[in-house]
Subunit: 166 residues, 2 copies
Amino acid sequence: MSPIGTEAALHPDVAPLAFLLGTWVGEGRGEYPTIESFAYGEEIKVWHVGKPFLAYGQRTWALDDGRPLHSELGYWRAQKANASGQWRVELVLSHPTGIVEIEEGVVADTTLDLSTVTVGRTSTAKEVTALARHFEVHGHLLTYTVAMAAVGQPLQHHLRAELERT
Amino acid sequence: MSPIGTEAALHPDVAPLAFLLGTWVGEGRGEYPTIESFAYGEEIKVWHVGKPFLAYGQRTWALDDGRPLHSELGYWRAQKANASGQWRVELVLSHPTGIVEIEEGVVADTTLDLSTVTVGRTSTAKEVTALARHFEVHGHLLTYTVAMAAVGQPLQHHLRAELERT
C-alpha cells in the first residue's frame, strides 16, 4: 500500500513511535539450525495517516540476484501503560507464509522490545510458535534483531539487520 | 508498501486469484447494531512479486470530508485442494484496530468465499470474533460483502462495496 496522508498531524498516541517513521534501506543476515545462513537486502517503510497507529511494510531480497525473499505488512499501536509514563507497544503483522502474529512490548526512548502474544497459522503454513524483536534507532541508523521459535526449534537468534533512513 | 516487482511472471499457485490484481476504487456502506450506518470511499490494491502469494492493501475514507477510516494489510495464498480441481484460498490480514485474522475458503471462477479460522487481538483491541467475506469480480467491477461477529453481536451483515479497476 502506498504511504498516503502523511501530511496529517501525527496522532499523539503514536508520538513515542515517531522515530520509526520513514523509509529505511539496508542489509541483514539470517541464520537458523534448519537452513543455510543467508544475507539479504531490506526496505522498511513506516507511515501514518493521522490516526492512532503507524502502518508498516517490509520486504527483503537476495543480495546476489535481487530475487524477493520475505515480506511483512502490519500496524504499530502504542498506549501509556501507567503513571510511570512507560508506553506499551502493540505490533500486528501478516506474513505471506500464512502467519499472522501479535507482538507486545515496551518502548523506551528509541529502543523497542517486543515478543509474541499470539501466532495464527493458515492450514498450509509452517509451524512458527514465537518471535521476539528488538529495534533500536540512533540518528539515521535502525538496527533490529529477531529471535524465532519454529519447526520444533526453541526461541533463538534468527535475523540481524542495519538500515539507514533514506 | 508500494507495489513492486510486478514485472515478474505470476506464480502459478496464485493464478486462480489473478482476477484480483490491480487497483480498485469505489464506495461502500457499513452498518452494525452498535453503530450508526455509514458510507465510505475505498481503494484496494492487490499486487504480486512472482512468489506464491498476492499482497493486499486496502483503505477507506469518509465520503463527507475524506478523513481516513479503516485500513487492512495482508496476503492472499491459494492451493489446489484435491483432484476435483477446486482451489482453496487463505487470507492473512492485519487491522490497525489491533486485530489479526486468518480466513480460509474457496475460489470458483471469479467468486471468493472466506470465513474466519483464527482471530487474534492485542490487549487493547475490541472483541471481534469472526468475519466472513464474499468477493465477486465481473469485468472491471469488484463487489464484496463482509459479515462480522463482534462486541457480543452474532455474525451478521456489516459491509457492502462496489469498486472499479482503475
